[in-house]
Subunit: 202 residues, 2 copies
Amino acid sequence: MEVVKRTRMSPEDRRAQLLELGARMLAERPLEQISVEEIADQAGVSRGLLFHYFASKHDFHLAIVRHAGADMLVHTEPDPALEPIEMLRTAVAAYVDYVSDNRNTYVSLLRGSASGDEEMREEFERTRAAMADRIIAYLPRVGITPDARAALAVRGWIAFVEEATISWLRDARITREELIDLHVAALPAVTLGASAAAALLQ
Amino acid sequence: MEVVKRTRMSPEDRRAQLLELGARMLAERPLEQISVEEIADQAGVSRGLLFHYFASKHDFHLAIVRHAGADMLVHTEPDPALEPIEMLRTAVAAYVDYVSDNRNTYVSLLRGSASGDEEMREEFERTRAAMADRIIAYLPRVGITPDARAALAVRGWIAFVEEATISWLRDARITREELIDLHVAALPAVTLGASAAAALLQ
């Protein structure tokens, strides 16, 4: 085990360090195997100090998941200087690359036993809601009214992207570019829905 | 508690009866609260006999979930005598009505703690795979080649339908008809994707 010298840190820095260590460990093993003792050892602090920042092991795990969600949102932040479709493509590409780089974390969180925990699911929901809000704010720029139907389509699209990306990570039978195209084309397709698909539906 | 006379049943009928009682109880409470004792009492059999059919409580719960999945598939069976889009609409309407009628079961299974159990997730996956196979088999009838990209789009569409339907069951801000339209329009939209959405992407 790596021995780390005990250093003085501000509470904010210490908290961030503990979460960072937790998030790094999450890339290697499922959440339920992340031990508070190991993280405390790696940070060179006592188990008691860790529980000063996080009330329980479960709270620590929730905070790691929140940290991972926030990290994903930062990495996929859309660039408002781009044209709408280019902005969407860039954000989707960043998402695909981010989850490819963090596939263990991503797949084990969303499809692992964490998904059976209500508070964990609420964390995932918060991340998805933040993604949905971003997209809904962008709809008027492509001429789509962000009404109740569009909001539901956006929620569905996020589930579409999540599922298709996880399937692709498990068995990539199309290229990264093709996957990005699939996601990008699907958003206007589902939010416009009736009109874009009208030709076929006639 | 209802008293049921012990009757002789064939093993198949008895097994079906136990599953049926389990599925009915699932409409009223989460899976983890389904007690083997209560089911055995309702069926008028001993706990021991129930364990003759299902090796453990967990096995019994898995069998209930499999039974619920099969029941949903039967209720949403497409009618091949219909025109393709009408066939899709009828199947989607049957799905929306089925999950509306069984909303407690459906939402608690897919978004409850059962989703944290690996064998449960495998059951859900089997049901989704059966839905996907049905749809993939139908794609050539609407002129879509069922290649790897289309297969991924179909998996994504199933997640889309599931998520949008669950959101709608929780907070119905559009009508049943509008939800069905959203789902129906989304399938050709995502599987055709690039071409249907081409106009906007240019």
